[in-house]
C-alpha cells in the first residue's frame, strides 16, 4: 500500500497515547457500533507509484489520439503555448485554496483581477466575474441573473449548442422557471418568431443566443439586440472567445450579459474538462452577477491590494437567499486563459482568429469541390455544416487515416471545424478522401 501519511505507525501510536487513547479503535469508539463499516472495501489494495503510473498510463494509451482534428462543436483543438502549463502549474498556484486570506493571496487575487480585465476587453463588457465551471453552466447562471419578480421566462435560440440548452433546462427545472426555445430557419434564429414571441410576453426575462452559433454562423446580433431590447428583455450572448479576436464585440452590439466556453484559451481538449465558464455583464447588472469577484482596494498603508468583494451576494452570507450556490471559480483554468491571452497578445489573438476562419473557408471550398454541399449559404467563423450522402462511411474512412472528421448531425449532415492547427495538406487530404469515398 502506498501512503502520503508521514507519521510512522509507532509515531501514530505514541501520539494516541499522549492524548489518552489506547489505539485507533479507542479514538473512534464514540461512533455508534451500528454506524461503523466492518467489512473490507472491495477494491484493490494500494500499489507503488511505479505500478500506479503503469496502470494509468496504460489507460491513456488505450485512447486514440487524433493529430488531425476537424471536429469542434463546443471543444476546440487549438495550440496551447508552452508558457500556459509551465506557468499555471507552479505549485503556489496549483496547491492554493480560494483566496479568502487576502494578505497571503495577492498573487491569486491579482491574477484573477487581470483575468477579469482581459475578459472585459475581449467582450466589451464592464464587469467579468472570476469565472464559472464551464460555458454551459455559465449560460444557465447568466439566464438566472435576469430573473426578477416581473421577468421569469427564459428565451433561448435553437441555434444554441444543444448541450448548453440542456444545462439551461436542467437549472430551470431546479429554479422552476420557464424556458422557451425560439425556432431556427436556415441555420439561424427565426427573427420573425423571436419578435412575436418576445413582444407577446411581458414576463420575458432574456434571450440567449450563441455567437457564432452552433452551425458556425455569425448571426445578425445587432438586429437581435434591437428586437430583444425593444421587448424589454435582456440579451445574453454565448460567445467563442477566439472569435472575439475579430468579430464585433457584445459590448459594441449592446448585449447585457456575456457567457461563453473559455476552453479555446489554452485549456486543451482533456476529454471535456476542466474547462472555463466565462461570465461578464454591463455595470447595471453588477450586483446581480453570480460567482466570485475580485476588487481593487488599498491596505492600511495605502498600498494597492486586491480582495474578494461584493461577497454579500454569496451563499456563505446570504445562504438560502443567495442568487446562486457558487462558491468557487475555475481559478487555475482562468489563470491559464490569462496566460494564453498575455502570451498571444492582441496581435496573436487576431492572428489565431484569422487563421481559424480563413482555413475553415478553404476547407469549405475544398469539400464543395469534392462534392459535399454546404447546407447553409451564410457567413460563418470556423465551423460550417455540409450535407453528406453517408457521413458514417466518410468519417470511418477519415478515421482510418488518423483524421477526426466533423461531427455527424442528424439526417447525415456534418458539422466541420478548422483551427490554426489544420494545415492545407491536411485539408486537401480530407477533400481527397471525400472523392475516394463517393
Amino acid at each position: 500500500m502506498g501512503t502520503y501519511i508521514p507519521n510512522t505507525k509507532e509515531e501514530q501510536l505514541k501520539m494516541l497515547h499522549e492524548i489518552g487513547y489506547k489505539d485507533f479503535d479507542d479514538l473512534f469508539k464514540h461512533i455508534p457500533e451500528e454506524a461503523r463499516f466492518k467489512g473490507t472495501l472491495n477494491f484493490p489494495k494500494g500499489k507503488s507509484e511505479c505500478e500506479v503510473s503503469a496502470i494509468v498510463s496504460g489507460m491513456a494509451d488505450d485512447n486514440k489520439v487524433f493529430h488531425k482534428i476537424f471536429r469542434g462543436a463546443g471543444a476546440y483543438n487549438h495550440y496551447v503555448p508552452a508558457t500556459v502549463n509551465a506557468i499555471a502549474n507552479k505549485e503556489e498556484f496549483l496547491t492554493a485554496y480560494t483566496p479568502y486570506q487576502a494578505e497571503i493571496s495577492q498573487g491569486i487575487l491579482q491574477s484573477i483581477f487581470e483575468y477579469q480585465t482581459m475578459i472585459c476587453e475581449l467582450t466589451g463588457m464592464d464587469i467579468s466575474n472570476a469565472s464559472l465551471y464551464d460555458g454551459a453552466s455559465a449560460a444557465a447562471e447568466a439566464c438566472a441573473m435576469t430573473h426578477d419578480r416581473k421577468h421569469s421566462t427564459i428565451y433561448i435560440s435553437h441555434t444554441v449548442d444543444h448541450r448548453v440548452r440542456e444545462v439551461v433546462d436542467t437549472y430551470s427545472f431546479g429554479r422552476n422557471t420557464k424556458v422557451v426555445v425560439v425556432p431556427e430557419v436556415d441555420g439561424e434564429t427565426d427573427l420573425k418568431a423571436l419578435k412575436e414571441m418576445l413582444e407577446g410576453d411581458p414576463s420575458a426575462a432574456c434571450f440567449l443566443m450563441q455567437y457564432p452559433n452552433f452551425n458556425g454562423i455569425v448571426e445578425d446580433a445587432d438586429q437581435i439586440a434591437s428586437i430583444v431590447h425593444g421587448a424589454g428583455a435582456q440579451l445574453i450572448m454565448s460567445v467563442n472567445p477566439i472569435a472575439l479576436g475579430i468579430l464585433k464585440t457584445p459590448g459594441e452590439i449592446g448585449a447585457d450579459i456575456v457567457c461563453g466556453e473559455g476552453q479555446p484559451l489554452g485549456l486543451g481538449l482533456g476529454y471535456g474538462g476542466p474547462y472555463l465558464g466565462i461570465l461578464a455583464c454591463t455595470k447595471k447588472n453588477m450586483r446581480k452577477i453570480i460567482g466570485r469577484l475580485v476588487g481593487e482596494t488599498t491596505d492600511s498603508q495605502g498600498e494597492r491590494g486586491f480582495v474578494l468583494t461584493l461577497q454579500a451576494r454569496e451563499q456563505h452570507i446570504r445562504r438560502d437567499k443567495a442568487s446562486s450556490n457558487v462558491c468557487s471559480n475555475q481559478a487555475q483554468c482562468a489563470l491559464k486563459a490569462s496566460i494564453y491571452l498575455a502570451t498571444v497578445g492582441p496581435k496573436g489573438l487576431k492572428q489565431a482568429a484569422t487563421l481559424c476562419t480563413s482555413k475553415a473557408h478553404y476547407l469549405a471550398e475544398q469539400l464543395e469541390k469534392a462534392g459535399l454541399k454546404l447546407t447553409y449559404d451564410k457567413e460563418f467563423f470556423h465551423e460550417f455544416v455540409t450535407d453528406c450522402p453517408d457521413s458514417g462511411k466518410l468519417l470511418a474512412a477519415l478515421e482510418e487515416k488518423g483524421i477526426l472528421g466533423g461531427l455527424p448531425l442528424e439526417d447525415g449532415r456534418i458539422l466541420w471545424c478548422a483551427t490554426e492547427l489544420c494545415t492545407k495538406e491536411d485539408m486537401d487530404e480530407v477533400a481527397a478522401t471525400v472523392k475516394e469515398v463517393f
Partner: protein, 364 residues
C-alpha cells in the same frame, strides 16, 4: 535486429500482420483474424510457421546420462522415434525452459527449444555438462524450418501428400526419414494446440514449398494459415504453459503444473534438491474463469476474501469456449476448484472462479 524465418515472404504474400516475437518477425494473424484461425484449428486444421523454434543436437556416448542429469524427465526407457516433453531446471528448481527431446537412435538426440531461449538454453546445456561426461552439443537451429499442421483434419490432409510410412501413428512419436511430397522431412505427431496434429521439420530452403503444398492439400478441409495470436489462444485453452509467462527462472515446473514431466525418483538431476524441499508445493497453478465483466491479462493480482493469493500468468478471451479465462499461480492453501475469486484488472475488481485445467480437452 529481428531474424526472418524462411517463410517471411510467404507470410507477407498471405497478408500476415508481421510483428517481432522472440527475436523473429512472425505473423500475429492473417486477414481472417485470430478468432477464425483459432476455430479452424479446433474444427478443421490450421498451419503455423514455427521455424523460430531452436534445434539442438545431442550426441556422444554419455548422451542419455547427460539428458537425465540436465533435464527433469526420464529418458531411459525411450524407444527410437519417440518424442518426450521435459522442463529444464536451474539449481533453485526454477525453470530454464521447456523443450521436446526426440530420440533418433542411441546417443543421438534432437532437442527442440523455445525460440527466444535457443541461445540461453544452448549455453546453459554446454556449461552444465558434468565432469568427464562425453557428450557433443550442436546448435543447428538455422538449418531447420518447422511447420505445425494442427487440427482434427490434419491426418487426412497429410495423407494426401505423404505416404503412410511417413505418417506417425502414435501421439508423441516421430518419423525421421519421412517424405512430404518429395521433400525429406521429420514428421512428428506433436503440437502446442491441444489438438491432434503434426510438427514437420525440414531443411530451411524447403519451407515455402512445404507451406504451399500443405495449404493446397488442406484447402478442401478449410485449412487456414494461422499466426501467433491463434497459437497463444489455442495453447491457453489447452492450458499449455508458455515459457516466460506461466513459468520462468523463478517458477518450478511442478508449480506450473508440469509435475508429470518431473521424475523425482530418478537419481540426481539439476534442481532436484530444491524441488524436494518445495514439498508440499507452496504455490500451484489453477485455472481462472471470469464470471464478471472484462478480460483478464497476465500479471493481475488474484484476490480471495479481500486478500491477494497470487497472480495471473496468462489470460485472454478464448474463442472456442467463448469466455474470458486466465491461468494463475496461487497459494496452494487458497487453491480450491469452484471457489470464487476476484482479479484486479487495472483497479477494477473482476469476479471470477477457480476452475480445473485444462479449460479444453479434445475428444479422442
Amino acid at each position: 535486429m529481428e531474424k526472418k524465418t524462411p517463410l517471411y515472404e510467404t507470410h507477407v504474400k498471405y497478408g500476415g500482420k508481421m510483428v517481432p516475437f522472440g527475436g523473429f518477425i512472425l505473423p500475429v494473424q492473417y486477414e481472417t483474424g485470430i478468432k477464425k484461425e483459432h476455430m479452424a484449428v479446433r474444427t478443421a486444421a490450421g498451419l503455423f510457421d514455427v521455424s523460430h523454434m531452436g534445434e539442438i543436437l545431442v550426441s556422444g556416448p554419455d548422451s542419455l546420462k547427460y539428458l537425465n542429469y540436465v533435464l527433469t524427465n526420464d529418458f531411459t526407457d525411450m524407444e527410437d522415434w519417440q518424442a518426450r516433453y521435459s522442463p529444464m531446471c536451474n539449481e533453485n528448481g526454477g525453470t530454464v525452459d521447456d523443450l521436446i527431446v526426440y530420440k533418433r537412435g542411441d546417443n543421438d538426440y534432437f532437442v527442440v527449444v523455445n525460440a527466444a531461449n535457443t541461445e540461453k538454453d544452448y549455453n546453459w546445456m554446454c556449461s552444465h555438462v558434468p565432469e568427464g561426461c562425453d557428450v557433443k552439443l550442436v546448435n543447428d537451429s538455422d538449418n531447420w524450418c518447422q511447420l505445425a499442421l494442427q487440427g482434427p483434419k490434419s491426418p487426412e490432409i497429410l495423407a494426401k501428400i505423404a505416404a503412410p510410412e511417413s505418417i506417425p501413428e502414435v501421439y508423441y512419436t516421430a518419423i525421421f526419414n519421412g517424405k512430404v511430397g518429395d521433400i525429406d522431412c521429420v514428421v512428428s505427431r506433436t503440437g502446442y494446440t491441444g489438438e491432434d496434429g503434426f510438427e514437420i521439420y525440414s531443411a530451411a530452403e524447403n519451407a515455402p514449398a512445404l507451406w504451399e503444398m500443405i495449404l493446397k492439400a488442406g484447402e478442401e478441409f478449410g485449412i487456414l494459415p494461422c499466426g501467433l495470436g491463434a497459437r497463444d489462444t489455442l495453447r491457453m485453452e489447452a492450458a499449455m504453459p508458455l515459457y516466460g509467462n506461466d513459468m520462468d527462472d523463478t517458477v518450478s515446473p511442478k508449480t506450473a503444473g508440469l509435475g508429470f514431466a518431473v521424475k523425482m525418483d530418478k537419481d540426481d538431476f539439476i534442481g532436484k534438491d530444491a524441488l524436494v524441499a518445495d514439498q508440499p508445493l507452496a504455490r500451484r497453478r489453477v485455472g481462472i474463469k471470469v464470471t464478471g465483466r472484462g478480460i483478464v491479462r497476465e500479471h493481475c493480482d488474484v484476490y480471495r476474501d479481500g486478500e491477494v493469493i497470487g497472480h495471473t500468468t496468462s489470460g485472454t478471451f478464448l474463442p472456442y469456449l467463448g469466455g474470458s479465462y486466465a491461468m494463475a499461480i496461487v497459494d496452494s492453501s487458497k487453491r480450491e476448484i469452484g471457489a470464487p475469486v476476484q482479479v484486479d484488472v487495472r483497479g477494477r475488481m473482476v469476479d471470477a472462479e477457480q476452475v480445473k485445467l485444462p479449460f479444453y480437452k479434445r475428444s479422442k
